[in-house]
Amino acid sequence: MRMTSRQLADVLVNGALKADTKKLGAVVKAYVEFLASRKELHRLPSIEKELGRSWSRAQGFSKLTVESAHPISSKESAAIEKAAGGADVSITVNPGLLGGVRIQTESALFDASIAGSLEQLKQQLVSSLA
């Protein structure tokens, strides 16, 4: 039975999530062997493209961007990494936020920054004028 790239990516992600980090190499080896047995190694690039979405389906998100107004401590960033559940984490400093943080995944934006609050206040004032 032919499987879509999406299904093949799901197989890899689910296998990898169940195994612990040390056995990851073995999982990937088994996966490549599985592809080779199906003569589908050429599909690896398209599977790689699907991996992000597969990861999101399994874990909720695959990319996490944290912006903060001031540099955050290594302890805090370690906590973020842990909470991210294996997603790609990027932490940047954006003084434009004035204060607080802004956290973004592929489909959601959590805004707890001063700049965001000010924007909200501006919208409220404008809409009360209309």
Binding site: R53, S107, A108, L109, F110, D111, A112, S117, Q120, L121
Partner: protein
């Protein structure tokens, strides 16, 4: 006058009432932009026809909800949207502000002013797409909506809550009928909405100027999606015009809406659908183009008194190509509406204006939407015209015909002549009754066909002078009772003798 401290206090109160803090927002990312269509990844839990916001406040509508992506049309300028931009969902279904303040204004399909007369203040938002009133809430059409056009009011009467299609080739006077109808609603307590879909801005400007000149803008709203606006605006324009009409209908008022025209609406929808890669059907229109029009026209209704008793009358316009009424969109809309006014270019060039083909124009509501007075005179008119059409072919052998046939042809010619009417000159129904009564009863038989127009003007002037009591009775009773008829007859005879 406001003092400075009051201003500061007002500002402080606003700021005090503000509840800040962290908030969550559903977002997505622009994957591709082109031809007014944006594909977006992310945007989980996006609803069908939900408004989405692009950077810079440009709005879009989510139309295609797919497994991984959302296809949206942009309402406005796409040039500022880039790949990778963040898209925010608003949680709001496509809606527009409605209020009394839209009357007399020219607006775009989202309710923004286009006439430079300042912002329109409205507190209520109505969704642009709404389910039409159901069976239990409706009442059958029985109150006439006078168009002021003799041929229409007498032969193809339109009632409040009806949907009457105006169909014909380009340059046959379709818009003219619609505009005359709006002008004739003065003092009739009917709110009018004119929706221009993909029209030339110059034509719209001309129409607005004419409505202002005749005082019709006082009760009219013009919704504009011009030829240079994106197809998405043309697509939603009739729905938003209908939303305004429904607002008045819900308040128990009568409203009239003109869709000028639904052919261009179908084109706009075809464009959007093809760009969204929906499968094309007949003439490349999408499969649900029928539903696009039927759900729009079903929203025209007359509500029963328990539901406020308001009404929304729809006059959709369809432009045919080469008189072909059997094309896809014309047949669709003909089957949805309660009748059609068919305009022909041949008649138009013959000088019969409005170029109404009385043979194939119908109103399925029929005489239920006519005043008793008009019903009495129109019955005879229809019969005479039908006989005339049968005999017309023999007209050129006039000398070889018997007396009766010849007189029928002559009567028919005068009837055709009297049904002609110049643009922007709607005629009140009492005058219509008097004029048609006079002609069908043979009072014009001795007048030369070329002189009918002058004769008619003379009759109307006379009716306002010597025959004023008969006109007044027709107007107040809306009936042609025997004594009213006797009055009318006497007044006409007096005029004929003069």
């Amino acid at each position: 006058m406001t003092t400075k401290s009051e201003l500061v206090n007002a500002l402080r109160e606003q700021v005090k009432a503000f509840e800040g803090g962290a908030r969550e927002q559903k977002v997505g990312t622009v994957l591709s932009v082109g031809d007014g269509i944006v594909r977006i990844s992310g945007l989980e839990h996006c609803q069908a026809s939900e408004m989405v916001e692009f950077p810079g406040g440009v709005m879009g509508v989510a139309l295609n909800l797919e497994e991984e992506t959302v296809g949206a049309v942009v309402i406005g300028d796409t040039s500022s949207i880039k790949e990778g931009d963040q898209v925010k969902s608003t949680g709001r279904i496509l809606s527009m502000p409605v209020s009394e303040a839209v009357i007399g204004r020219v607006i775009d399909p989202l309710g923004n002013p286009k006439d430079g007369k300042g912002p329109i203040k409205s507190k209520e938002f109505f969704p642009i797409e709404k389910v039409a009133p159901g069976v239990m809430t409706r009442l059958s059409v029985s109150v006439p909506l006078q168009t002021g056009i003799k041929a229409v009011d007498a032969i193809i009467p339109i009632g409040r809550g009806q949907r009457e299609l105006i169909i014909g080739d380009r340059q046959t006077g379709k818009t003219a009928i619609a505009i005359d109808t709006i002008i004739n609603q003065k003092g009739q307590n009917v709110k009018c909405i004119y929706v221009a879909i993909g029209q030339k801005e110059s034509k719209i400007a001309k129409i607005v100027a004419k409505l202002e000149e005749t005082g019709a803008m006082e009760y009219t709203t013009v919704v504009v999606a011009g030829a240079s606006d994106p197809a998405a605006l043309s697509f939603i324009a009739p729905y938003s015009g209908c939303t305004i009409g429904e607002y008045f209908m819900a308040k128990g008022e009568d409203a009239l809406i003109i869709y000028d025209d639904l052919s261009k609406h179908a084109w706009a929808y075809r464009e959007i659908s093809l760009l969204l890669r929906r499968p094309p059907g007949r003439e490349a229109y999408p499969g649900d183009v029928f539903y696009a029009h039927s759900r729009l026209l079903e929203r025209a209704a007359r509500l029963s008194p328990e539901y406020g008793g308001g009404s929304l009358t729809a006059l959709p316009i369809i432009e045919t190509q080469g008189g072909d009424v059997s094309a896809y969109i014309p047949t669709n809309v003909i089957s949805i509406t309660d009748g059609q006014i068919y305009l022909e270019s041949d008649l138009f060039y013959k000088g019969i204006r409005p170029a109404l083909n009385v043979g194939i124009s119908v109103s399925r509501v029929g005489s239920a939407a006519q005043t008793k007075a008009m019903k009495k005179v129109a019955g005879k008119l229809k019969l005479e015209l039908a006989q005339f059409r049968e005999l017309e072919a023999f007209a050129q052998f006039a000398t070889d015909l018997d007396e009766k046939t010849r007189s029928q042809i002559e009567r028919g010619r005068r009837l055709t002549e009297v049904l002609k009417q110049p643009q922007y000159k709607p005629m009140p129904f009492d005058e219509q009754v008097a004029v048609i009564y006079a002609v069908v009863n043979g009072y014009a038989d001795k007048v030369k066909v070329d002189d009918i127009v002058a004769w008619q003007d003379g009759l109307v002037a006379h009716m306002h002078g010597g025959g004023a009591s008969a006109l007044e009775k027709i107007r107040s009773t809306k009936d042609l009772a025997p004594e009213t008829e006797a009055d009318l007859k006497a007044a006409i005879e007096m005029f004929v003798q003069k």
